[in-house]
Subunit: 170 residues, 6 copies
Amino acid sequence: MTIPEAEDQEPTGPGLSHFNAEGGAHMVDVGRKPETRRVAIASGLVRMRPETATVIREGRAGKGDVLGVAQIAGIMATKRTADIIPLCHPLPITHVDVSLDVGEDSVAIRAEVETWGKTGVEMEALTAVSAAALTVYDMTKAIDRGMTIESIRLDSKEGGRSGRWERTDE
Amino acid sequence: MTIPEAEDQEPTGPGLSHFNAEGGAHMVDVGRKPETRRVAIASGLVRMRPETATVIREGRAGKGDVLGVAQIAGIMATKRTADIIPLCHPLPITHVDVSLDVGEDSVAIRAEVETWGKTGVEMEALTAVSAAALTVYDMTKAIDRGMTIESIRLDSKEGGRSGRWERTDE
Amino acid sequence: MTIPEAEDQEPTGPGLSHFNAEGGAHMVDVGRKPETRRVAIASGLVRMRPETATVIREGRAGKGDVLGVAQIAGIMATKRTADIIPLCHPLPITHVDVSLDVGEDSVAIRAEVETWGKTGVEMEALTAVSAAALTVYDMTKAIDRGMTIESIRLDSKEGGRSGRWERTDE
Amino acid sequence: MTIPEAEDQEPTGPGLSHFNAEGGAHMVDVGRKPETRRVAIASGLVRMRPETATVIREGRAGKGDVLGVAQIAGIMATKRTADIIPLCHPLPITHVDVSLDVGEDSVAIRAEVETWGKTGVEMEALTAVSAAALTVYDMTKAIDRGMTIESIRLDSKEGGRSGRWERTDE
Amino acid sequence: MTIPEAEDQEPTGPGLSHFNAEGGAHMVDVGRKPETRRVAIASGLVRMRPETATVIREGRAGKGDVLGVAQIAGIMATKRTADIIPLCHPLPITHVDVSLDVGEDSVAIRAEVETWGKTGVEMEALTAVSAAALTVYDMTKAIDRGMTIESIRLDSKEGGRSGRWERTDE
Amino acid sequence: MTIPEAEDQEPTGPGLSHFNAEGGAHMVDVGRKPETRRVAIASGLVRMRPETATVIREGRAGKGDVLGVAQIAGIMATKRTADIIPLCHPLPITHVDVSLDVGEDSVAIRAEVETWGKTGVEMEALTAVSAAALTVYDMTKAIDRGMTIESIRLDSKEGGRSGRWERTDE
């Protein structure tokens, strides 16, 4: 197995940069990395019964706004990422955009996050999608407990030593 | 479509109990519900390349401990659920158990949460699984950016007016 | 001056119950108070130029939703009250309802909070109104920096030893 | 109505920069803005019965210190602003000064906040004043539930593309 | 070695109740424990140069108030205990009292915390003392970087199955 | 007494820079200080019965991992420092390393924190040690309530106007 050179990787460890020389967990040293523009885009899906999707869709047009609340939840969670993910660096987020789209039997979520910092915002984008998905679940679980959250993943990232990466497997 | 009677549902709204009479979002009134024992079990999966699963597995035996850090992240996120999910009630969590299991090309996550309160802990269990999954991603993204988080879902819940519910679709 | 008997007041201090015998700040002992239903209603106003009110009103009808975001901010801040107000007790909030109403040159905000606990939720209701007001300001400050937040106040409270209180000065 | 050019405003939206092209809420992109010194000064008032002001004033000289606790609450809330206001950017605050002054029937609050960042600290200054005002209320509500929080507003701001702004209406 | 029967101990584990059957960390199940009054008292010391103690002492009498700020820090940290200590249960704190006393070359800190809940508040009292001690350090480190925090310990606890415990080694 | 020139000290105050001209607490102005690399190393000790140290040591080798959980607690608390210590500046932490070492009758804790910012990370390193120590206590208190936390102190710091400082008293 070849472990690809990683952006966050320290010279001290072979493989996983979150562990220090003694194998303990640590927050990777990014101090000497330049502050550059970094963008990450992530996405995910809440799969549900068609009736549930209909209620959400009509809710948006009519009274309730599941998508609006989930969007705010996603944006706010972006700012809490370093509180929730133990080894994440706190970063000065400069832009967040979370969008949600109701399909026939699902809600698709997409988050774009930008910083000008020393490390990337992949975790921020994935956390935004997760929080928005959980909020969709929370607000509709009364009528559909069986919903599942699927396919939360990084779609692309830009900036840093390793430059642009884009998901290619689909 | 028949909307099933929901545990958290108020008499004022047809369907989604998180919206009040005017259609705005609100935190559902659970004040008159009895404090009973409530348990929720949720699960999810981080899908990865087999090489990544191997690194995690060996990391556990050897030095680093991806699963140990993710487990703590899951437990701590349980306590932050009401901070992250806008309309969630704060609940006095009485027990949390998060377990992770490395498979051939995935890490399986399971969380069990218990409270003795006025509403259920479904969101707490799902949040624990999400945070643990994000942490697995964070700690191994240096070698496998393409990992995806899959199938985060409620497996069962107990307690409250609606009693026991178990996932049956599999 | 007669200091009225206060619900949260300890026998040790004449006047302000947040100070202990030596005059230092402390969190008042509410341990032996019964857990009863307690409700508080607070309100406030963001005063603005009529053009700003128009933009918000049309935003609601059309695409953007200043009031929806402010509503969520108010609900979420309710749950953070004990984090923000130093001597506040953490309370298991059982219901929150925040509503906003655009007038000719203002947005009126009202919050109702309920708990079943050992002390009241006056601060939670006032904090909800404050956070919603600040959010209205934040989302429209680009077009009207001169807006002011006015008349944040308790309208009524129920429950506890002192029973029902209602604002009478208007 | 002419909407004045706003500092935080994106070219994509006419008017309110907190909404993206589709009208959803987002955190405005400030990534390409220069990091400059930015200062904001805000103020507000807690209006109360003269007897309450006397108790606070004497409390300061004697034992209890309502103003000291409120000052700390204001400073700490400054650092939580981006947690409380959904679309606020997290900013590296470099200075906070909160002062409180007891008048005959009120406590006047003033906050000055500074950052060297990509966007302004208006919300941080307003949040500091709000938290300090709520704390004054909390610490004296036992003797005066009728207090109101009035006139929370931005007094001036410096820095950024739009430069200095000063309240002129009084 | 005989491991004394512990209040928080589960029947499944011999010794440390924070680990579940498989040895992973978990939040101990306290759900079936009765809600009783529980009190914990902890203390600690910040050791410093006599000149530093003098500055603090005079600061209290005169203008600045190191002890007042540290007291608030201790009270507020009590409420954040379950956020900071991974396996701590969130508890409805009903009373907190933090006091600080300047000696010749030290500041002595004492915290008393009470809850009516299913588990004890030992960690809350120790966290209050720690946060107050760190704040004393922070506020005086400009003149005495060599200060040390000493002897943070539980002095007594009451309530729960194991009843009263008092430190006897001195 | 000569008060040594302090790094964080403002020209306005003689002695303690956390107080402004009127003697109130404020967050010191660091805006005009250059962003340089700053490192702080702190340490501390949890003193315990030899049997307790043995259980922790064996726990590490076998199943449970007191030290692993405490390490994560220390790292995460570093990021919460400005939330817990009232007058601390929020800083963009770029590296954290927390290590724990079981001795015969104690656990030794050491934290190294780095930032590239306008002020130092002494408080972050001390907070990391404190949180790790409290977590060790929490996870073993069931078998040894008498443990004490000792000798939390700064060992060295680098960067900033005052340059390198190293503890010399031992």
